[in-house]
């Protein structure tokens, strides 16, 4: 069987799933990348957010075929490279249940990649498509702010 290739956090992986399988389930079920969360399956909650060639996407609304041959980054990938958001998330004690947070961090990382010095308003706008049922929104804002300010100082 010919598989599709994905590059996940820098490592090439071959996937056997049918090409129309949502990327979310390929990552979770076949590749065991469980930080990519299922919350709605329809692009509504942001829990499944990953970066595809550096761009934030909702892996539940994208198929394996869409992603084939391309490069995917998940929060494990950010953590492995010491991304300041991961430390900022801990410093602000952001999580409650934590389920939404990998998706929140991936959305925040995409924001900082395209706008390293966001205003408070830009942070709120960028983070408003990721749901958190536990209401950690203020700490999410503060953690993004902290990471952005830390980058400024470097």
């Amino acid at each position: 069987m010919t598989g599709s290739q994905l590059i996940v956090n820098g490592a090439p992986r071959i996937c056997e799933a049918a090409p129309d399988t949502p990327l979310l389930w390929v990552l979770r079920d076949e590749l065991g990348v469980t930080s990519v969360k299922y919350g709605c399956g329809e692009g509504l909650c942001g829990a499944c957010t990953v970066h595809l060639d550096g761009e934030p996407v909702r892996s539940c609304t994208m198929t394996l075929a869409d992603a084939a041959g391309r490069s995917i980054t998940t929060v494990e990938g950010l953590a492995a490279t010491g991304h300041p958001l991961v430390a900022a998330w801990v410093a602000e004690q952001t999580s409650q249940c934590g389920y939404c947070q990998p998706g929140q961090i991936m959305t925040a990382a995409a924001l900082l990649a395209r706008n390293p010095h966001p205003s408070d308003e830009q942070i709120v706008t960028a983070m408003s498509d990721n749901l958190c049922r536990c209401g950690t929104y203020h700490r999410i804002r503060r953690a993004v702010r902290r990471a952005a300010d830390g980058q400024e100082q470097r």
């Binding site: 969360k37 952001t94 049922r133 209401g135 950690t136 804002r141």
Partner: protein
């Protein structure tokens, strides 16, 4: 203040640790959905709840059956022990115990009870272990214990010698259990009142946190179950061949809750389920809808209800009142909609059942699983995973039972996955309610009569039978304890029986009843022409803790002072689960008429502030859940089924609509109260009262629709 009449010896026991360390068992009182006046369990038998273990490497482990749902219970419980133990916080960890009928006391995590129940005993356990470690060091050195102290995981002699807890643990286990170890004075606390880094933060930021849906066992299969969308219906026929034709589908069979499709992957299971095209026998309630429920509630509201409280003589006082007010309030069903949908992994073998479940009621789940599998309870090994939110939904054992029913047909472990639509359609919803209010003012404008008649389903009656309801009508919680001093008060409940599954939703019946209490009281104040704060203070005795939070929130919010143009303020207060909370909401309407909540000023009196950061987080969480209900939350029925199927038609609060939240904590050393739920109930009435102040329109149903505010 230990409150439960137990001697220290009977709730602490050194179990030993095979000579390699110290293991201590601690009994805690059991409280679920407790009444604020409940001071703890009466148990005299020794049934431990928490274990404290100190390993030779110095690691301090707290083993608990209580569940980590995001509320920080594990960290807070560990803090209470570590404070008195003088532990090094960086060496403290928490281990989730598997379900056991008795070994860990009540594992049920609800009722804002984990810290309340543990406040005294967890500290006393830490203190006892500390004294034993000191005694062990003193004996090793041949020096008096009075010259030794404990600090950050070390016992230190005034002469400078020191020994680590790990080295002392085995010897400490042989020391006698001190009968009355001294507890620290509050001014000496290093953790309590200051907070400590949560123990689960790194895992939840770097992607390594594992939830129920992340369980991966060797050879695991995935299942999706087609359940009848109409409550009480069952599957009549389905296209098994079509489901089996989906690549990856392994098996199709019926289970008590519907038709299961087992597959190699989640996607295959979901597609297989789709292909089943089940034909349902929809049963007797296939026509039920919101209008019909409203009709049934309104008819029931004509009856006098079961009396929950009857002070003075309401009927006479109301009949003779100079001014009479009456109103109807209505609230919908609400889903929990935790971000992690339902799921459970089960493996049935010849020897028993192993289960991995994101539950907040491990023991109920375990006993129900044993029944479903037809095995004795000892044969069910249930691992509680972290939950991606819970809010009361995961107290119910249904999703665990269903996974066992599926696993009975499967060789090897199988994970039953719920979609978001499954989660909304088959929740145990916050009960809908209909409230009839009546109040009388005398000639001087004083409130002299108050009646609150509630029509709703009872969670107790639905799940534990009519007897449970007859003993204690749960639906009046938060209404019968109405705190204002009025001579004639009646609180009644009329039981509605409907097939809609209902359950506990963060703060339970306090949500509905606080909304009604505090909005109708505002109506009375307006009728009397009195400021809402002054009106409430006039009805509360001096020194009352509810009065305290009202005054604090009002002064912090600048109540009575200038309000930014186009905005208005409203307030509300409520007590439950041993804590007292008041909110002042500041609101406006956007250009398009949408409701904007700018700010909530919140005063919380929870007796002792164990972890101020944790309290703030719980206020944030309560506000987000409550505002979701105020602005959008509504589960509606059509043709006997839930209409909502995802976050687009059951929206929850987003980051841009989260108000500024200013929290003021009152901690006077009163008995420690809960914090997971008490901040929630007063949010909705504070917002509705602010909208009244802004628009002059009284909102009597939730969610608030912009149209309700237009003339």
């Amino acid at each position: 203040m230990s409150g439960a009449g137990l001697t220290r010896r009977s709730f602490l026991q050194v179990v030993g640790a095979g000579g390699a360390g110290l293991l201590m068992a601690i009994y805690l009182p059991h409280r679920l959905l407790a009444d604020p006046s409940d001071t703890g369990g009466e148990n005299t038998a020794f049934t431990p709840s928490v274990f404290l273990r100190i390993d030779p490497d110095g690691t301090v482990t707290v083993v608990t059956g209580r569940c980590e749902l995001g509320q920080g219970a594990h960290t807070a419980m560990a803090m209470l022990i570590a404070e008195e133990l003088e532990a090094d916080w960086s060496r403290v960890r928490v281990e989730q115990a598997p379900a056991h009928p008795t070994l860990y006391g009540s594992m049920t995590t609800g009722g804002s009870s984990s810290v309340r129940g543990g406040w005294n005993r967890l500290r006393q356990a830490g203190a006892a272990a500390r004294e034993m470690l000191i005694a062990a060091a003193a004996a090793t050195w041949g020096l008096p214990a009075s010259e030794c102290r404990a600090e950050q995981g070390w016992v230190i002699h005034t002469g400078g010698r020191r020994l680590g807890y790990g080295d002392l643990a085995a010897a400490a286990a042989k020391q006698p259990l001190p009968s009355d170890p001294p507890l620290k004075a509050a001014r000496d606390f290093r953790l309590i009142g200051h907070g400590a880094p949560r123990l689960d933060m790194e895992a939840k930021a770097n992607g390594s946190a594992k939830f129920g849906l992340d369980v991966r066992r060797p050879g695991q299969l995935t299942a999706a179950v087609a359940r009848c969308p109409v409550f009480g219906g069952k599957a009549k026929s389905w296209n098994e061949a079509a489901a089996r034709a989906v690549p990856g589908v392994r098996a199709v069979f019926s289970v008590p809750s519907g038709v299961a499709v087992v597959a190699d992957s989640t996607w295959a299971a979901l597609q297989g389920r789709e292909a089943l095209a089940v034909v349902w026998d929809e049963g007797a309630e296939a026509a039920l809808d919101g209008a019909e429920i409203a009709r049934r509630f309104a008819a029931l509201a004509e009856q006098e209800g079961k009396t929950a409280r009857d002070d003075g003589d309401f009927a006479t006082a109301f009949a003779g009142a100079a001014r009479r007010l009456e109103a109807v309030y209505e609230q919908p069903y609400l889903a929990h909609a935790a971000l992690e949908p339902g799921n459970c992994t089960a493996h049935v073998t010849r020897d028993g059942v192993e289960i991995w479940a994101p539950t907040q009621g491990p023991q109920w789940a375990q006993s129900a699983a044993a029944e479903a599998a037809g095995v004795p309870i000892e044969k069910v090994l249930l691992h509680t995973t972290w939950s991606g939110g819970a809010f009361g939904r995961r107290l119910m054992p249904d999703f665990v039972v269903e996974a066992v029913e599926v696993a009975k047909h499967v060789t090897g472990p199988v994970q039953v996955v719920w979609t978001r639509a499954d989660d909304l359609a088959h929740d145990f919803h916050r009960p809908a309610s209909h409230h009839r209010l009546a109040a009388g003012l005398d000639g001087d404008g004083r409130l002299i009569a108050w009646r609150h008649r509630i029509v709703s389903q009872s969670i107790g009656a639905q799940h534990f039978g009519q007897g449970a309801y007859d003993d204690e009508p749960d639906a009046v919680d938060g209404a019968k304890q109405w705190p204002y001093q009025v001579p004639n008060v009646r609180v009644e409940h009329v039981l509605a029986t409907l097939p809609v599954p209902i359950g506990w939703w963060r703060s339970v019946y306090n949500t509905q009843n606080a909304f009604v209490n505090e909005c109708f009281l505002d109506e009375c104040a307006a009728a009397a022409g009195v400021d809402p704060l002054a009106w409430r203070l006039g009805l509360l005795p001096a020194g009352d803790r509810l009065r305290g939070v009202l005054e604090r929130a009002a002064s912090a919010a600048g109540w009575g002072g200038p309000v930014p143009a186009g905005r208005a303020r409203g307030l509300a207060a409520h007590a439950c689960f041993g804590s007292f909370v008041a909110h002042v909401a500041e609101v406006s309407l956007s250009g398009s008429g949408g409701i904007v909540v700018h700010r909530l000023t919140c005063a919380v009196d929870c007796g002792v502030a164990v972890d101020p950061g944790g309290i703030r987080a719980q206020v944030d969480g309560s506000v987000a859940l409550a505002l979701s209900a105020v602005l959008f939350g509504e589960i509606t029925l059509e043709k006997g089924r839930v209409r909502q199927r995802n976050y687009d038609d059951y929206p929850v609060l987003t980051n841009d609509r989260m108000p500024e939240i200013d929290v003021h904590i009152i901690a006077n050393g009163d008995p420690v109260g809960g914090i997971g739920e008490p901040p929630l109930p007063p949010v909705a009435p504070a917002v509705a009262n602010a909208l009244f102040a802004l628009t002059g329109r009284r909102v009597r149903r939730l969610p608030i629709r912009p149209a309700d505010l237009r003339g």
